[in-house]
Symmetry: C2
Subunit: 279 residues, 2 copies
């Protein structure tokens, strides 16, 4: 087995995610966006390591996430791995407790507190994250208010797990939190069952996840129709009807960026590494 | 300034080194060798982090290096960054003492002990490293003997700095140790003065270093004539007479791998990051 710590596995998962190619619409080993390049993801992964170590230790889960985002944001391109860290932190915590499975991570989710929710809001002060507008009655809880929203959060007694449950319909990362990380664990098994180099496995699993369900980041950044269409095109590429490399070129040109699916791949790679995936 | 620790800067330098492309003959963002791929360097960098943290702390320099190599070797392709770590460890130590300049790193080199030399030999037990045969009277000190050579080492009272001075003629990393890291600091300034994305700067500095002097890894793995010819071809690419991308294709096809020059780029990137290079 590997000598890597849980936090090192998580950091390596972030790096392998961005290495996997083609991951249509994402920054990957072969493709950059204009102001968001491969090296920003690399620096983001390295910067997140202290937060990941906190997740493997005894700090509050919210603080581990906030510190991870703080370090991740230490590069010039802004948000690279906010969603991936939000998935990784509870998974690392579960692994460090010896139970990296759906029950184990559900226990971690259920144990989150209002204080964790406050740290989650503080994390939004480090980077601009694409989010939907909250419904009118929840304007006080807009995450973009950062720590200014904390009194409203405390007033309602919302835990981090409550926040995730609120957003599950519109956010694929929150849905994993609310549902026990089913897609993460499933994609980890795809990656483990594949026999090619790890980045190729990551790219294949990405296409499968995207073909399976529209990406909520595309829904937010563009619209639901674009996200549905992206999933149909991923399905065609998976079926061999179109070339994934061409789809990658097309998505980058069109500005279709399935970032939530990439977050899930980072999480799935982490689980696979913990389960013995060799690089 | 960055929030990264000295060890994080060093790990990031390893990752940015392998990201820079084209670095003719090396694994880089665009090119793999058959059994030595990009992801192996990524895993090597992540694995080396605990050793790099020791280098920034109070562990013996030799132990920091040995632990760095031990973690680096935790991937399936063998040696990826032995030489780079041998350069980084004294630089990280100097930075952690507040004096990352030639005088500071010379003080670190001069302070090495016989115990550091013993740890250096132990590091060779973790990976196969390309080395030249020692002269007949030094066969007992062949690094490939690993810790079996330690009695001979102790008998002669050789420090790690002594070992590096012994090898300086045939090894570009040892030459840096013996000479006060002149090429490392010079290339760091090239990188800082350049204005393009960091991986492009790394690739340019690589070509300049290779054009300046034959690579000792090519000398060992192939021969002196091949190394001299590689430097001439790098000079032509630098002068714009040939395309660096074509040179990269040619070197990979011919099995010309200027690995020592890549090690120097990792070290130079580290110094540049410590001096404010933003990613």
């Amino acid at each position: 087995m590997s000598r890597r710590s849980h936090a090192q596995h998580a950091e390596l998962a972030l790096l392998l995610e961005v290495t996997g190619t083609p991951k249509p619409g994402n920054v990957d080993r072969q493709r950059d966006h204009d102001d968001l390049r491969f090296e920003h993801f690399v620096a983001g992964a390295v910067g997140s390591a202290p937060g990941l170590r906190l997740a493997a230790g005894n700090a509050s889960l919210g603080l581990a996430f906030e510190r991870g985002v703080f370090g991740m944001a230490d590069q010039t391109a802004g948000n690279t791995q906010f969603g991936a860290l939000l998935l990784l932190v509870p998974l690392v915590r579960a692994a460090s407790r010896g139970s990296l499975d759906r029950e184990g991570v559900e226990r971690v989710v259920e144990s989150t507190t209002v204080a964790d929710a406050c740290e989650f809001y503080r994390a939004f002060e480090h980077v601009d994250v694409a989010v939907s507008d909250p419904p009118g009655d929840l304007a006080a809880l807009d995450v973009r208010r950062g720590s200014e929203a904390i009194p409203a959060l405390r007033g309602r007694g919302l835990t981090l797990s409550d926040l995730m449950a609120e957003s599950r319909e519109v956010d694929g990362v929150a849905e994993e939190w609310a549902a026990g990380f089913p897609r993460t664990f499933e994609a980890a098994e795809w990656i483990l069952d594949d026999e090619r180099p790890v980045p190729d496995r990551a790219a294949r699993a990405f296409l499968r996840l995207l073909a399976d369900r529209p990406d909520t980041f595309v829904e937010k950044q563009r619209d639901a129709a674009t996200a549905r269409e992206a999933t149909e095109r991923a399905r065609a590429a998976l079926a061999g009807e179109t070339d994934p490399e061409e789809l990658a070129e097309a998505f980058v040109a069109e500005g279709v960026n399935p970032g939530t699916t990439a977050d899930l791949i980072a999480a799935a790679l982490y689980v696979a590494l913990e389960r013995g995936l060799a690089v």
